[in-house]
């Protein structure tokens, strides 16, 4: 299939889009921002017979708070996330992560639904969504289901999304005033880079630098994003002081399972996973102290 032979349909509503997805016949694929889809088309990996273009399907682009949850439309761009007052206040770790995606152009084009659907082990918003306990609504013509993001992604680029389904909503729990979060990333340079390692941390704090519970998710150190459960279980053991933070970081070195690839070696990734977690925890403690 040549690029010049690929057709495009632009549905004007979600229901029309779902109807198109349910049709058998021509091989189709959904395209939104195009930051991954177009690259794959150019590389010859994705050559559908027809692109279903949802770029301007504005009914799927929103950030709303209702029923004690924050609802995010899948076509919300990274720029929308960065500028959202609701997310800045109640999902700081996601705003942090969106700022680290590419640079201005990619943030204007790329969507959160696309970042989830692409399911890259290095996807920057994913660890943030893991620690915020994100749930995804998947909709087809005949069905609607909601599942945790951890059950949605099962390998690099591999998800449970069926051919006739699309991600129609991302639901996260807003942080309470005593919850603080941070996203840390190491890339080859500051802007416009793919993560070598990244980590999202969300902590529920109590008095005297004590943490009641916390969630830690690493990216780029395993086939999917992973929760560092051993590190998490150490968070409530006492005051988050130098000693405890260093001990947690040591456990992180053992808990991640990175590979060597073009971007970094496995050992370097382990060292950096440990260092990023340590730095993230220090920064969170400093911020909590100053609040």
């Amino acid at each position: 299939m040549l690029v010049s032979e690929i057709d495009m349909i632009t549905p004007s509503s979600l229901s029309e889009c779902l109807m198109l997805l349910s049709k058998k016949g021509r091989i189709h694929r959904v395209i939104a921002g195009g930051t991954d889809a177009t690259v794959r088309m150019k590389e010859g990996k994705w050559r559908p017979e027809v692109w279903i273009n949802i770029k301007n399907l504005n009914e799927l682009r929103y950030i709303e708070e209702s029923d004690d949850c924050i609802h995010i439309g899948p076509l919300t761009t990274h720029t929308d996330i960065i500028h959202s007052p609701i997310l800045q206040r109640k999902a700081d770790v996601l705003v942090d992560a969106a700022r680290e995606v590419g640079a201005t152009q990619m943030q204007n084009m790329g969507t959160i639904g696309g970042n989830i659907g692409t399911a890259s082990p290095a996807g920057d918003t994913l660890p943030a969504l893991y620690v915020l306990g994100a749930r995804l609504e998947l909709t087809s013509m005949s069905n609607k289901r909601t599942l945790p993001i951890e059950e949605f992604i099962f390998g690099p680029g591999r998800t449970v999304l069926k051919e006739n389904e699309m991600i129609t909503k991302i639901i996260i729990k807003p942080q309470s005033p005593n919850e603080i979060g941070i996203f840390q990333k190491l890339g080859p340079r500051k802007a416009q880079s793919i993560s070598i390692v990244n980590v999202a941390i969300s902590l529920t704090m109590e008095q005297d630098l004590k943490c009641r519970e916390g969630k830690i998710a690493f990216g780029s150190v395993a086939p999917t994003i992973i929760r560092a459960r051993k590190c998490e279980s150490m968070l409530p053991l006492g005051q988050l002081n130098d000693e405890l933070i260093r001990n947690i970081a040591k456990i992180a070195w053992k808990e991640v399972m990175p590979i060597t690839d073009g971007r970094a070696t496995a050992t370097y990734r382990r060292d950096m996973a440990s260092a990023l977690l340590e730095r993230g925890l220090y920064r969170l403690m400093r911020r909590w102290n100053n609040q």
């Binding site: 690029v3 010049s4 032979e5 690929i6 057709d7 495009m8 632009t10 395209i31 921002g33 195009g34 930051t35 177009t38 690259v39 088309m41 150019k42 692109w51 273009n53 770029k55 301007n56 720029t79 590419g102 640079a103 201005t104 152009q105 990619m106 204007n108 084009m109 500051k190 802007a191 416009q192």
Partner: protein, 162 residues
């Protein structure tokens, strides 16, 4: 082939092309607007930057069928000699260009950035705003200086008018 309509630099255009043809190729080949350049072709370098509805994007990754009825601005739309924009004049004044390949993309990014703020930006702010535009000759110092110069000129102009 499809007939696709959109507005480029204030003019309505209709092109007949495959809908999956990247916008950059249509701008350069079908419309003769060759300021925007192809370099990496995958959204890493920013040479192909254009504005769509006043937001900077990579035209090499947007398919032409996706910009139906949208408003596109290329570097030609920012300003053409002898009616150059203050940003373009500042780039010349500061010597912020060498081979010039990345310059149209940077000017478009700077345009979107400066239109969205009303102060003279810090070096850090400019670095963040232009993070998606790579230049392999000048080393950025003069580019950053040019954006600051343009911002101060713009401010003094608005103050004079105001």
């Amino acid at each position: 082939m499809k007939s696709i309509q959109f507005v480029v630099n204030g003019k309505e255009c209709t092109v007949l092309c495959p809908p999956a043809k990247p916008l950059l190729d249509v701008l350069r080949e079908d419309l003769g607007l060759t300021a925007s350049k192809e370099c990496c072709g995958k959204g890493e370098c920013g040479s192909c930057s254009v504005l769509i509805n006043n937001e900077v994007v990579c035209s090499c990754l947007i398919l032409t069928g996706q910009v139906e009825n949208q408003k596109i601005t290329t570097c030609e739309g920012v300003g053409l000699s002898p009616n150059l924009d203050v940003i373009q004049e500042s780039f010349i004044a500061e010597g912020a260009t060498q081979c010039g390949y990345c310059t149209p993309g940077i000017i478009v990014s700077a345009k979107a950035f400066l239109d969205g703020i009303d102060h003279v930006p810090s070096v850090g702010e400019i670095k963040t705003a232009l993070g998606g535009n790579l230049c392999r000759c000048t080393g950025y110092t003069k580019i950053i200086k040019a954006v600051q110069t343009a911002a101060s000129k713009k401010r003094s102009e608005t103050e004079t008018i105001g």
